[in-house]
Subunit: 229 residues, 2 copies
């Protein structure tokens, strides 16, 4: 069975190479790209819907949605005004750089877009292991998932750039120790920015959208983008 | 890359063989075993805690907890009165039959136990693909995850024996169309039993525990157990 390991390593290396190519392609088209990850039902699609509603007019957005099955998420993103591509992974529990490359092919000319939002498959394990070539990784946690998730899924909470804490409107009804949660996060990603918000009530969304807008503006004006590591 | 596929098939076959061995071992010791699966934070551990509190006295329970990291879940199961083994999978996003075999080895003599509860890694994709050798698979859904999950994660909702719908106390605060959810479930698992409940308020738990107790009693008296397929 040990002969399997080099093949797995080859796949990871091939993925990283393709992620670098995707990144170069995004840079050339001057698009800022984020990779949104979360467990199933944390609110990735709701966040995208609410973000699309609040972004300044003139920012053109493409959304690439990864799911095991259905086009529910891409349909919702399209209804909210984005150009949306659905990737059905079949059994695969994460997106990889090949899937994103194929989605970029489907989008065609990338230059009209300012922002690419990649919505990864709902999963707190595997998506963290596959670079896609985006600029920033955004993790969506949610109050009902519980405050122990950074401790139990350290791979996902490590090296995240931004953390959304969604469904804060449910805090009165759920035992969730915010200090314990934040301690777990800070050990793994000390420099990340956090956005407690509710896609249901709208609370906190403006702060997130302002941060995202600033990232897009700074990226376009800097001309040099760094690949997330 | 195609040369990778036969190896993956070999792994699956080897897993199925080991699952059959695990099953025989459980049968020999007259233990009824369930495999609890769910997305992260749906409430698997809370369900186990509440179940342990309510099972008839005299039913001896072993719990095998699968997690990427920490022993939080096994500690909680042990505090609730079970003999608990924690499996840390490292990066693996699911339990497999080898991991369960190793946990059974750690438990030692299995004959004192009546019920084995396996708590799989929080993930709505991969655990469904790996048989462990248990008798029944139990899926824990939760209201905050949203009503579209059966449609988006069909592999997990297929061929489930029992479905817990947890966190029903949050129904007043969350848009969740129960009919839409149930329709999606019935297409994939038409014969499953469902248990709407709340581990927070205790509502509905007695019906679930009664069903489980009956399964344990029937299994011990039948002498013949079928492996879940």
């Amino acid at each position: 069975m040990t002969r399997n390991i080099p093949i797995v390593e080859d796949i990871m290396n091939a993925n990283d190479q393709l992620a670098i190519q995707n990144h170069a392609r995004l840079e050339q088209a001057d698009i800022f790209a984020i990779n949104i990850m979360a467990s199933p039902g944390a609110g990735k699609t709701s966040l995208i819907e609410q973000t699309l509603k609040r972004l300044p007019a003139g920012i053109k957005v493409a959304v690439v949605d990864g799911d095991i099955a259905t086009s529910i998420d891409a349909d919702r993103a399209a209804a909210a005004g984005a150009t949306a591509i659905q990737i059905n992974t079949g059994g695969e529990c994460h997106l990889d750089a090949v899937m994103l490359r194929n989605a970029l092919d489907q989008l065609g000319d990338l230059t009209p877009f300012d922002l690419l939002i990649v919505e990864n498959v709902g999963n707190l394990v595997c998506p963290a292991a596959f670079q896609l070539g985006t600029h920033k990784s955004v993790l969506v946690a949610s109050i009902p998932e519980g405050d122990d998730k950074p401790y139990k899924y350290p791979g996902m909470y490590q090296d995240v750039d931004a953390l959304i804490i969604n469904k804060i409107d449910l805090l009165p009804y759920i035992p969730f120790k915010m200090d314990y949660f934040r301690q777990g996060v800070e050990i793994l990603s000390p420099n990340l920015v956090t956005f407690p918000l509710s896609c249901q009530t709208g609370e906190g969304l403006d702060v997130w959208v302002e941060w995202l807008s600033t990232q897009i503006t700074n990226h376009v004006s800097s001309d040099i983008g760094e690949i997330e590591t």
